[in-house]
């Protein structure tokens, strides 16, 4: 469904991503793991068109998307739930969800979809008129995921969904991701919480210093000595 082909990315004259290629198939949960600063978020930002790749192509659902306007990707069915959630803090929960469905079919189905999201996250229904900035961290993450789902995506990219959450909430977030996945969503997830991520992913790529150094089935990677030593702290 998504294919990233040999991309190089620069921040001004500094290269941060080196010849990275990977793919995500329909129905899969794929994880990008690696240390802070390894370039995981940059890859997601490149796919969403916030940063242009210097070389290489990104193909989504048959379209070469790195030449398209970044705001039009969501209509193709690609949504990026950004790091640190990035809600619109001075807007209500409901308005945040509305912003997720500004285009195409998603706009027509807004009402039905909203009900579906509220069913999925009853907490959000209780707080629908509250400002997003006043939600707790866990609720904010649910809203961020909900806002992403409102666009009726085919592929959802999650950037560090467990960031800054207490362990108990982290579990909750991963439960939500599993639920989303069980509804047939394809997911590309970036996480520093390696252990839990590998537990829910089908496949994973390990990123170090802007290069992919390993890839394989999530279960295999979880047992790999290098991964264990570097990321699982064992």
């Amino acid at each position: 469904m998504l294919e990233v082909k040999n991309i190089d990315v620069f921040y001004s004259d500094l290269q941060v991503i080196f010849d990275v290629s990977f793919g995500v198939n329909t129905g899969e949960v794929v994880a990008l793991i690696g240390a802070n600063g390894a370039g995981k978020s940059t890859i997601l930002r490149t796919i969403s068109g916030l940063v242009p790749p210097a070389n290489g192509d990104i193909v989504f659902d048959g379209h070469v998307i790195n030449k398209l306007h970044n705001y039009s990707l969501i209509e193709l069915g690609l949504v990026h739930v950004p790091e640190a959630r990035r809600l619109f803090p001075e807007m209500t929960v409901e308005e945040n969800l509305d912003i997720g469905s500004l285009r195409g079919q998603a706009k027509k189905d807004r009402k039905v979809n909203k009900d579906r999201i509220f069913e999925l996250f009853p907490r959000l229904l209780e707080r629908r008129r509250q400002l997003a900035g006043t939600l707790s961290g866990g609720e904010q993450q649910m809203l961020a995921i909900g806002r992403g789902l409102m666009s009726l995506p085919k592929l959802m990219m999650l950037d560090e969904p467990s960031l800054g959450l207490a362990p108990i909430l982290v579990k909750e977030v991963f439960r939500v991701i599993e639920q989303v996945r069980s509804e047939g969503m394809t997911v590309l997830i970036v996480e520093q919480n390696v252990k839990q991520t590998l537990a829910i992913a089908d496949r994973a790529y390990v990123l170090e210093n802007g290069k992919i150094v390993m890839s394989g089935k999530a279960a295999d990677l979880a047992n790999d000595e290098h991964v264990k030593a570097a990321y699982l702290g064992v």
Binding site: N36, G137, Q196
Partner: protein
């Protein structure tokens, strides 16, 4: 003998506690690591200690003197320097001028400041790059430049915020060596780090924060086997 005492320090933003009731001591000439998941309040803690934020509660004592609520430049003068997680070189100045600007803090003349800057640049292995504009430096060297700039203020205590993030293995080794040398030269180091391998090997003691609270403190070995830490941070074993 402790150089820095953090006593029951809390910092609230709105109603949210970014740091709550954290206490620990930093002993003279040790390397103290601070770890914890992203958003655990580590950088906020640094910002409180170095004076960017006023602590909402609690006391911070540097060398026997309370510094809570003092301005960053006063705290720096009192002997504490820091680096930033997102590197902040003075972009349109050369590497040398970057360090020179902070060397003026202790120097009595320009010549003396230049001497300090030269010495610090050699120490951090940046002397070759001294004429390059700092915005053109690669990340690894920029991180080192930050350390150099902090060292030029002649601190007794150095706060390093993620000085290893995003470095390649060669740069990593270089930075580890530099930090060990800093300790050897008699400066106490407090370091926030994600890179577990590095922090475990370099620290004398480690403080673990999650959710703004300290959940453990001890030697790397103790931390590695602390059940609470494993659950909250390292992942359930």
């Amino acid at each position: 003998m402790s150089i820095l005492q953090v006593k029951e320090v809390s910092k609230f933003f709105g109603g949210l506690a970014a740091v709550s009731g954290v206490s620990f001591d930093v002993n003279e000439n040790e390397i103290l690591g601070i770890i914890g998941p992203n958003g655990a309040g580590k950088t906020t803690l640094f910002n409180v200690i170095n004076g960017f934020y006023k602590p909402s509660k609690g006391e911070i004592i540097l060398n026997g003197k309370s510094i809570g609520g003092k301005k960053p430049h006063e705290i720096c003068k009192a002997g504490m320097a820091r680096t930033f997680q997102i590197v902040r070189p003075l972009r349109r100045l050369s590497v040398f001028d970057n360090v020179l600007a902070s060397a003026f803090l202790r120097a009595k003349s320009k010549a003396e400041a230049e001497e300090i800057a030269t010495e610090v640049l050699k120490f951090t292995d940046l002397y070759e790059d001294r004429d390059i504009l700092s915005k053109g430096l690669p990340l690894g060297k920029r991180k080192r430049l930050e350390i150099a700039r902090a060292l030029a203020t002649r601190p007794k205590l150095l706060l390093l915020d993620e000085s290893f993030a995003g470095l390649n293995p060669a740069e990593l080794d270089k930075s580890i060596e530099i930090i060990r040398n800093i300790k050897k030269s008699g400066i106490t180091v407090m370091i926030i780090e994600h890179h577990m391998k590095v922090i475990m090997s370099i620290s004398d003691r480690i403080v673990v924060l999650t959710y703004g609270q300290k959940i453990a403190e001890g030697t790397p070995d103790e931390i590695r086997h602390n059940q609470q830490v494993i659950e909250a941070y390292l992942g359930e074993a």
